[in-house]
């Protein structure tokens, strides 16, 4: 009893009102000891965040029912009144959330937001609290705290905001920190820094951490013990190493398979399918390397030469140009028919703008884009639309990229109609398209809201395929999906490449997926490609310092290798904003091997 800080016993939560109550979690039980880190892992809808919010009693009271018992530090929190809970929250239990961009009040200075906690729980005056806030900012390593304390959240980057959140949660030295996907919205190098920071502070404060995540890599890096949740229930709990190496639970095994590092000795050059699982949880199809689809001899399906896209920043009053965002700078690459090139990098590196520039959705400043040798750059209007049919795009957010008022059939027919296909022919192609992406053709008359995220992404892929493209630009196409769904969609993309000989430009920040889908990988940093080459070489033998930094920041889903990673230095991602008359320095690339090039250091 004494070594348990938090005991969650048979907690069930239902949402609803009146007579209709829908269970969200049932009989969730687990313990967290003093100073221990426990990961709650699961996919969206598994109830992990709801569990955390139910411990904090932050769910809307009128529409929520909670049963079961929550014991914290020997006291029964479920018996606490709202007023008593307020004294616990932010004081004895701190909490940080997923979205650093929206979790801070945009209209209050960060100093006031942190200080507020001290004023509330410690009864400090504002002036006294300010001193403590300065100390806290230094502890979470925000540089120039003295100056930044009066700034507002919009002046901070995502990683810095998450540091502010941490400072806020730790202000009163809580015994327990609940971290709800604290690094999910951050770039890997920043994620690495935040995880380290939490670990350091935890050791200093002897604080327990409840770490909610969907990422088994992060679990392997941080957790002493792990609770796996699925569909509102705890399916497994135990020591993290036991969960990783001895689990017999089919769901856990599936989660692990989705993040397992690729065995580089077995799979060298071609994309690798994820293993498939049957409904009983056993493997129904092993992971396997794809057959060779690359046509290395013909004209490249897509070739991009010296592509440069800049955005002009204008003065608000006189609309004078005051700077330029060098979003894409002198980018050159080509993709053969049947080949996948992954474009990787962190947010703001210009990878999405590259994709959009290729489709001429953003007008590039200069550069040529050739589709099977035909130059797209000088086309416009009808000519451009005709050429662009063989170049289609799949976007990140399957919820936002389908018109909610269009049935699936409408969504699939529209691009064909634009391409001049008559309605009858277009309609007749719909069942075929749906079957192609693994959906039931009878679903054609339904609306997007009736589908899950994974199904919607299948629909988006079917829509892109409707005009029989040769090249698909997939912009973070699987990033918003849960791990197991992600694996299915990646497999679908790989199968389609096999069947239709498609070329992919796969834009992603997710290295575990890139490892699987690519023939070649290009790494972008501040608008430029710093390294490009075959997947096994770039990932296995990175030459550019940025590539190394990026790869070393990716959490390894193997608890036995914890702590082996080099501690990442303190890097804020720079921005590509330059003066109006800035001239980009000339770049040279060194050839590492036959097709592996690295930007020479200037």
């Amino acid at each position: 009893m004494t070594n348990k800080l938090l005991s969650v016993v048979d907690v069930s939560v239902s949402f609803g009102s009146g007579q209709k109550w829908k269970p969200v979690t049932s009989d969730v039980s687990f313990d967290i000891g003093h100073g221990e880190t426990v990961a709650i892992v699961g996919e969206s809808g598994s109830g992990k965040s709801v569990t955390a919010l139910s411990i904090m009693r932050l769910l809307p009271e009128r529409t929520t029912r909670i049963s079961g018992r929550v014991e914290f530090d020997g006291r029964d929190l479920t018996a606490y009144s709202s007023a008593q809970m307020r004294d616990v929250r932010g004081n004895e239990i701190g909490m940080i959330f997923q979205e650093p961009m929206t979790s801070l009040n945009p209209t209050m200075s960060i100093g006031d937001q942190i200080g507020e906690v001290l004023v509330r729980h410690r009864g400090l005056s504002r002036a006294r609290a300010r001193k403590d806030v300065l100390e806290l900012l230094a502890r979470v390593k925000i540089p120039a705290a003295e100056r930044r304390i009066d700034e507002y959240p919009h002046n901070f980057s995502g990683g810095m905001r998450q540091r502010v959140m941490i400072a806020m949660a730790l202000a009163c030295k809580p015994k327990l920190l609940i971290a709800d996907e604290p690094t999910t919205a951050l770039d890997v190098t920043i994620q690495n820094q935040i995880l380290q920071l939490i670990k350091e502070l935890q050791e200093e404060e002897k604080m327990a951490v409840m770490f909610i995540t969907h990422d088994m890599g992060v679990v392997a890096e941080t957790a002493d013990r792990t609770v796996v949740m699925y569909n509102g229930r705890v399916v497994e709990r135990g020591e993290t190493s036991r969960i990783f190496f001895q689990s017999e639970e089919p769901y856990t095994k599936r989660l692990l398979a989705a993040v397992a590092p690729l065995d580089a000795s077995r799979f060298k050059n071609r994309p690798v399918r994820y293993a498939e699982y049957g409904s009983d949880g056993s493997i129904s199809r092993l992971e396997e390397e794809q057959a060779d689809t690359v046509d290395g001899t013909s004209t490249p399906a897509l070739s991009v030469e010296n592509l440069t896209t800049r955005f002009v920043i204008r003065d608000k009053l006189f609309k004078r140009a005051v700077g330029k965002v060098h979003a894409v700078e002198n980018v050159t690459f080509s993709i053969q028919p049947g080949e996948t090139l992954s474009l990787v990098g962190e947010s703001g590196c210009g990878k999405s703008t590259t994709g959009r520039s290729i489709l001429q959705l953003v007008k590039p400043v200069s550069g040529t884009i050739r589709l099977f040798g035909r130059d797209l750059s000088n086309l416009s209007g009808a000519d451009l639309r005709a050429e662009r049919q063989s170049l289609q795009m799949v976007f990140q957010d399957p919820f936002a990229s389908l018109n909610p008022r269009f049935t699936i059939e409408d969504a699939l027919v529209e691009p064909m109609r634009c391409a001049g296909v008559d309605t009858v022919t277009a309609l007749s192609k719909v069942p075929e398209l749906l079957t192609l992406v693994g959906l039931n053709p009878e679903m054609a008359n339904r609306y997007p809201h009736e589908f899950s995220g994974g199904q919607r992404q299948r629909i988006c892929i079917a829509r892109a395929l409707s005009v029989s493209p040769k090249v698909i630009v997939a912009d973070e196409a699987v990033s918003a999906l849960d791990v197991s769904v992600k694996a299915q969609i990646v497999n679908l993309l790989l199968d389609l490449q096999q069947r239709l000989g498609l070329s992919y430009l796969f834009i992603s920040h997710d290295m575990t997926v890139v490892e699987r889908v690519s023939h070649r990988v290009a790494v972008m940093y501040l608008g430029e490609i710093v390294e490009i080459g075959p997947r096994a070489e770039v990932l296995g033998n990175p030459r550019h310092p940025y590539t190394r930094r990026l790869l070393s920041a990716v959490p390894i889903a193997d608890p036995s290798r914890r702590g082996q990673r080099a501690a990442g230095g303190f890097h804020e991602i720079k921005n590509p904003i330059r003066d109006v008359d800035y001239v980009s320095p000339p770049r040279e690339y060194q050839q590492v091997s036959d097709t592996h090039y690295v930007m020479a250091e200037s």
């Binding site: 932010g90 929206t102 801070l104 009040n105 945009p106 919009h154 806020m168």
Partner: protein, 313 residues
């Protein structure tokens, strides 16, 4: 923040100049002799000649405009031949009642609507919420003059608490002023209370679901500071917009209310001046109303910047 306010201020200058050109032109483009039009119905030949001199009618139009503008900037809008006094003096004597009425109306609306709307949002879906919706709908459905006469009937005639009509100047004592304007203000305010309650409710409801409100709760803050510091400040922008629009359009509402309650304000002056075809007064009042409108919008813009630091940066 200061540079933002200056920037906003500078952008209003071309707008103000544009308005002055339009007001100036209304008279020049109408058919007939501007001097005769300005003089009104009972004007003598000598007076027309005097007006012609004053307006510089022999000069090119741009010179006439500059002359007119320099007069206007110095507060000289000519003479009202109908009221037989300088327009500026006439308007000054009428500004006070209108301003008192507008400010009081606004104060009443804000004090009632914002707490009501916020409370409704906090208890969204409850009976109190539905009730506030009902009050709001009634508020902006019933015409001002109906509310006005109903209030007079109840408070002035039945209960005898307030004067039936008329206006007591501030120089006669603030209490008397308040007594004479409270009913017209309430009558005018019903519409704005309705509107503001709805806007406040919708805006607060949206902010209540924001992540940073959840953060504030996770910090263990008390409900009242959460509502004021975290919710209302972020919900303020649409509310400010409606208040500003409301304040500006109050002026048109004032025309009816001032008639019902027989208050000698700008609204009444406007109606009388139009009916009497007293062009110098009409011109000056239009200019004042539009300048007022622009200034209110400027204030609203600046307050967005104060409320939300992202706007000002």
């Amino acid at each position: 923040m200061f540079s933002y306010a200056m920037r906003r201020f500078i952008t209003t200058i071309p707008v103000l100049l544009g308005i002055s050109v339009l007001v100036f032109l209304t008279l020049r483009v109408s058919s007939g002799d501007p001097a005769a039009i300005l003089g009104g119905d009972a004007v003598t030949t000598e007076q027309i000649e005097a007006i012609r001199q004053q307006l510089g009618l022999g000069e090119p139009v741009w010179k006439q405009y500059l002359l007119w503008l320099s007069h206007a900037l110095r507060g000289d809008f000519g003479v009202s031949y109908y009221y037989k006094m300088p327009v500026t003096q006439l308007i000054l004597s009428r500004v006070e009642p209108t301003m008192v009425l507008a400010v009081l109306t606004l104060a009443v609306s804000i004090l009632i609507a914002i707490p009501l709307g916020t409370a409704a949002a906090l208890r969204a879906g409850s009976i109190a919420d539905s009730l506030s919706t009902a009050v709001a709908v009634v508020g902006f459905s019933v015409p001002v003059f109906v509310v006005g006469y109903a209030l007079i009937g109840l408070f002035s005639i039945k209960l005898g608490l307030t004067p039936v009509q008329g206006y007591h100047r501030l120089s006669d004592g603030a209490l008397a002023t308040l007594a004479s304007t409270i009913l017209p203000s309430l009558a005018l305010a019903t519409v704005y209370i309705g509107l503001l309650t709805r806007i406040t409710r919708a805006s607060v409801l949206e902010v209540l679901n924001a992540d940073y409100v959840r953060t504030a709760k996770a910090k263990g803050l008390m409900p009242l500071p959460i509502t004021i510091k975290h919710v209302l400040r972020n919900a303020a922008a649409p509310i400010v917009t409606v208040v500003a629009m409301g304040f500006a359009s109050l002026i048109s509402g004032v025309v009816v209310t001032e008639s019902v309650f027989n208050i000698p304000g700008l609204g009444r002056l406007m109606v009388d001046a139009v009916l009497a075809r007293d062009y110098p007064s009409v011109q000056a009042i239009i200019l004042i109303f539009t300048v007022f409108y622009v200034l209110i919008n400027l204030l609203a813009d600046i307050s967005y910047g104060i409320l939300d630091p992202r706007v000002a940066s």
